[in-house]
C-alpha cells in the first residue's frame, strides 16, 4: 500500500482477518498479561513509596525508619515507578501492538516471560538496594551498580523478538506506530548501555557525570516513554474512532523530528552549572525545538479525533489516551519553558524538574498505558471489563490527582525558587513557603494510591478470568439512546 491509500477509509474486515487476530492475541496472551500484572503491582508499590517520600519531605520523622529517609525513598519511588511500572507496561503494549501490526504470531512467549522475571528481580533488587543504602546519586540511575546488566540483558532478550517479528511482518504498509515501537526497542539499550558504561564502568566522570545522567534521564523521557506512549496513541485513536490518522506524512515527519532532536536534550537542567556553556545551551535549544514535532503530533491527533469527541466520553481506551495526548503537550511545553535561562533562576534545581518528570511519566505515559491496557486486556482474555463505574473512578481520581500533582509541584518549585532568591535568606523561607503545596502533594498521592489499588484489583480479576464473559464492550457511561446508532458503527470498526 502506498501512502495515498491512507486517506481511504479502512478496508473491510474479512473472516480470515478476525481468525488471524484471535491467533495473534492467543500467542501474546501469556507475556502481555504477565507484564501488565506485574507492572500494575509495581505501580501500586511505587505509589505507596511516592506517598511515603512526599510525607517524609514535610514530616521527616514519619515512621521513624532511616531506610525511608527522603534521600532514599524518593529515588526508590522514582525508579520503581519508571523501571517497575512504566517499562513493564510499555513492554506489554509493545509486544501486543508489534504482533498485531506486523500480523505475526509471537513464536516464543516463554522466553519473554523468563526475561520478564529477570527484569522484575532486577528492579526488586535495585529498589531494595536503594532503600538499604546502596544507591547512587545519578539521576534515574540510582540502582546499585550491579543491577544494570540484569536489566539490559533482559530488555534485549525481549525486544530482539519484536525486531524479529518486524522483519517477518506481512509485506505492505508500515504503520507509524511500528516505527515508534521499533525506535523504543533500540533507544533504551543504547541510552542505558551508554550511560552505565560511562557512569558505572569507566567512572571518574567529574562534572561530565551529571551531564551524562541528565542526558540519560531526559532521553528516557523523550526517546522511550514518548515513543511508546505515542505508538499506543497512534494505534488506539484510529481504532476507536474508526478513521485513519489524519495526515500520515505529517506523522512521519514528526517522528523523524523527534528522533533527530531529542538525543541532544538533557543537560539544560544544569544551566549555570560548572560545564562548558555550549552543553546546556545546545540542550536547551534542542528541548525548545522539540515543540515543533510535538505540535505536529498534537495537531494530527486532534484532527483525527475531530468529529468523534463523543467517543472520548464513552470509550475508556480513548478517554485515557486522549488525556495522555494532552499530557504530552503539557510535558513538552513545560520542559521547553524550564530550558529558558531567564526562568532557570527560579526553576533550576527545584521541584519544577519533578513537575516535568511527573507530567511526562504520569500525565502522559501512565495515562496512555491505562488506555492501551483497557483496550488490549479484553481482547487477549476474551472477557470484558467488569464495571464501567470502576473505570470511571480510576479515570477521575487519576486525572484529578495527577493534574494537581504537577500543578502543586510547579507552584512549590516557583515559590521555593523565589524565596531562595534573596541574598541573606536562609532556607527557612523556602521550606515554609513551599510547605503548603507539598502537603497538597501528599493528598494527590493518596488519591493515586486509591485509584491504582482499584485498577490493580480490576486487572487481577480480568487476568483470573473473572471478567464479564459476554456482551458489549464496557463503556465509561451507558450511552444515551440517541447516541446508540452512531456508537454501533464506530465500535464495529473498532473491533479491527
Amino acid at each position: 500500500m502506498s501512502q495515498e491509500d491512507q486517506s481511504q477509509p479502512l478496508p473491510d474486515v474479512t473472516p480470515e482477518d478476525i481468525l488471524q487476530r484471535a491467533a495473534i492475541d492467543r500467542s501474546t496472551r501469556l507475556p502481555v498479561l504477565f507484564f501488565f500484572t506485574s507492572a500494575a503491582a509495581w505501580l501500586l508499590a511505587a505509589t505507596l513509596l511516592g506517598l511515603i517520600s512526599s510525607i517524609k519531605l514535610v514530616a521527616p520523622g514519619f515512621l521513624g525508619i532511616d531506610w525511608l529517609n527522603y534521600g532514599r525513598s524518593q529515588p526508590a519511588f522514582l525508579n520503581a515507578l519508571l523501571y517497575g511500572w512504566a517499562f513493564q507496561a510499555g513492554l506489554g503494549v509493545m509486544i501486543w501492538m508489534m504482533a498485531r501490526l506486523c500480523r505475526t504470531e509471537l513464536k516464543n512467549p516463554i522466553t519473554l516471560v523468563v526475561a520478564g522475571h529477570f527484569w522484575n528481580a532486577g528492579v526488586a533488587a535495585g529498589v531494595t538496594g536503594i532503600l538499604a543504602g546502596y544507591g547512587t546519586a545519578m539521576k534515574w540511575l540510582e540502582f546499585p551498580s550491579f543491577v544494570w546488566p540484569i536489566l539490559l540483558v533482559s530488555y534485549s532478550m525481549i525486544v530482539v523478538w519484536l525486531v524479529v517479528m518486524f522483519s517477518a511482518r506481512r509485506k505492505g504498509h508500515v504503520f507509524i506506530s511500528q516505527w515508534y515501537l521499533l525506535a523504543a526497542c533500540f533507544s533504551f539499550p543504547w541510552l542505558y548501555l551508554t550511560a552505565n558504561l560511562f557512569l558505572n564502568v569507566f567512572k571518574q566522570t567529574g562534572v561530565s557525570g551529571p551531564a551524562i545522567a541528565s542526558w540519560y534521564s531526559n532521553n528516557i523521557l523523550f526517546l522511550w516513554l514518548v515513543p511508546v506512549g505515542l505508538a499506543s496513541a497512534y494505534f488506539i485513536i484510529p481504532k476507536v474512532v474508526g478513521k485513519p490518522i489524519h495526515s500520515y506524512p505529517l506523522a512521519l515527519l514528526a517522528f523523524w523530528g523527534l528522533v533527530a532532536i531529542a538525543p541532544w536534550t538533557g543537560a539544560q537542567e544544569l544551566i549555570g552549572g560548572p560545564l562548558p556553556a555550549w552543553i546546556p545551551s545546545i540542550a536547551g535549544a534542542a528541548q525548545i525545538l522539540l515543540l515543533v514535532p510535538m505540535l505536529a503530533i498534537a495537531f494530527n491527533h486532534y484532527l483525527t479525533v475531530k468529529g468523534s469527541h463523543k467517543l472520548v466520553e464513552l470509550s475508556p481506551s480513548l478517554r485515557f489516551t486522549f488525556f495522555g495526548s494532552i499530557g504530552y503537550v503539557v510535558t513538552s511545553v513545560s520542559a521547553a519553558l524550564l530550558s529558558s535561562m531567564t526562568l532557570s533562576r527560579y526553576t533550576g534545581f527545584s521541584f519544577t524538574q519533578d513537575a516535568v518528570a511527573m507530567s511526562g511519566i504520569y500525565m502522559f505515559f501512565t495515562m496512555s498505558m491505562f488506555g492501551a491496557i483497557y483496550f488490549i486486556v479484553p481482547r487477549i482474555t476474551g472477557c470484558e471489563w467488569i464495571s464501567g463505574g470502576r473505570i470511571r473512578f480510576h479515570f477521575w481520581w487519576s486525572a484529578y490527582a495527577c493534574i494537581s500533582l504537577c500543578v502543586l509541584l510547579l507552584a512549590a518549585g516557583f515559590s521555593h525558587g523565589a524565596a531562595t532568591d534573596h541574598w541573606d535568606s536562609d532556607m527557612s523561607g523556602a521550606i515554609t513557603f513551599s510547605k503548603g503545596y507539598l502537603i497538597g502533594r501528599i493528598l494527590a498521592w493518596v488519591f493515586l494510591a486509591a485509584a491504582n489499588a482499584v485498577f490493580l484489583h480490576h486487572l487481577s480479576l480480568m487476568v483470573c478470568n473473572r471478567g464479564r464473559k459476554a456482551g458489549e464492550a464496557t463503556l465509561i457511561h451507558q450511552p444515551a439512546p440517541y447516541d446508540q446508532a452512531e456508537l454501533v458503527i464506530t465500535t464495529e470498526r473498532a473491533e479491527a
Binding site: K139, T194, K203, T205, S208, W264, P274, P276
Partner: protein, 256 residues
C-alpha cells in the same frame, strides 16, 4: 525507508552524533583535565598561602584520608537529592551573593563567592551537583562547619573551636530539627552509635538537648561512616582563588 536496515542506519546516525557530542566528548575532556599549578605571584595566592588555606601548589589538591569514603556515603544516603554543590554565575541565579554560601560566612565582604568551575570536581567519580536545592547549597560547606576561626591564634583555641564546630555538624546530622525547627532534613540516626559512657566520655559525644539526650550513663557518638561523611563535607571548600591559567585574569600591575 521501509526496510529495517535503512531504519536502523538512520536511527543510529541520529543517536550517534549527539551521543558523541553530549556524552563522549565531555567525558574525554574531563579525563584529560589535570590539576593546574599555582604561580606564587598570582593575585590572592600569596595571601592564601600565608593563611594556610592552600595545601598544595596545585588546584585542586587530591582527596585525602576518608574523603573518598565520605563521598560514597554522601551518595548512598541520597544527600544529593536535596543538596546541590553548585555556585551558579550571576546570569543564572543569586548563588554568588548568598550569605554563608562562600568562604565568608557573615556576608560582610563585598566580594562575591566564586562560581564553581570544572576543576572543582576533578577528583570525584561523579560530581555531586545535586538534583534539587531543598537544603542549602554545600559547594562551600567546609567553611560553614570549620567554626569561627577569625582572631584565634593559639593552636589549642583553634583545635577547640574546630571540635565544637564538628560536634555541631554531627548534631545537624543526628537531629536537624534540634537546630532549626523548620528543617525538613531527615535525621541520620543509623550513622551514630549509642554506647555506655567510659570515664569522662568521648570528646565526640553529641551534646544533645534534654528531650533527645540518651539515658544516664550512655552517650551517642558518630560511627566511622559519620566521621568519613564529616571529613568529606568539611573538605568542600571551593571558594578558593583559581590559578591564572583557569581564570585568564591578568595579575595587577605593580604600583611604583
Amino acid at each position: 525507508m521501509n526496510s529495517l536496515k535503512n531504519f536502523v542506519l538512520i536511527l543510529g546516525a541520529c543517536f550517534l552524533v549527539p551521543t558523541w557530542c553530549m556524552v563522549a566528548q565531555p567525558y574525554a575532556a574531563e579525563r584529560k583535565r589535570q590539576p593546574v599549578p599555582y604561580k606564587m605571584e598570582e593575585p590572592g595566592v600569596r595571601a592564601a598561602f600565608d593563611d594556610g588555606a592552600l595545601k598544595g601548589l596545585f588546584y585542586p589538591s587530591e582527596f585525602a584520608g576518608d574523603r573518598k569514603r565520605g563521598e560514597l556515603i554522601y551518595s548512598r544516603e541520597g544527600c544529593a537529592q536535596c543538596h546541590t554543590q553548585v555556585i551558579r554565575p550571576d546570569y543564572a541565579g543569586i548563588d554568588q551573593f548568598k550569605k554563608s554560601w562562600g568562604k565568608d560566612q557573615e556576608g560582610k565582604e563585598i566580594k562575591p563567592t566564586r562560581q564553581t568551575v570544572m576543576w572543582d570536581y576533578l577528583h570525584e567519580d561523579f560530581a555531586m551537583l545535586g538534583q534539587r536545592r531543598i537544603g542549602p547549597d554545600l559547594a562551600n560547606a567546609g567553611y560553614r562547619f570549620e567554626g569561627n576561626l577569625a582572631g584565634l591564634t593559639k593552636p589549642e583555641e583553634i583545635a577547640a573551636e574546630k571540635a565544637r564546630a564538628l560536634n555541631d555538624f554531627y548534631l545537624y546530622l543526628f537531629a536537624p530539627r534540634a537546630r532549626h525547627e523548620w528543617s525538613s532534613s531527615p535525621g541520620f540516626r543509623h550513622l551514630f552509635v549509642t554506647r555506655p559512657k567510659e570515664g569522662q566520655g568521648s570528646i565526640d559525644a553529641l551534646k544533645l538537648p534534654a528531650n533527645l539526650a540518651p539515658a544516664g550513663g550512655m552517650e551517642i557518638v558518630p560511627s566511622s561512616e559519620a566521621r568519613a561523611l564529616a571529613e568529606y563535607v568539611l573538605g568542600l571548600k571551593r571558594d578558593q582563588p583559581l590559578p591564572v591559567s583557569i581564570t585568564g585574569a591578568q595579575p595587577p600591575k605593580e604600583s611604583k
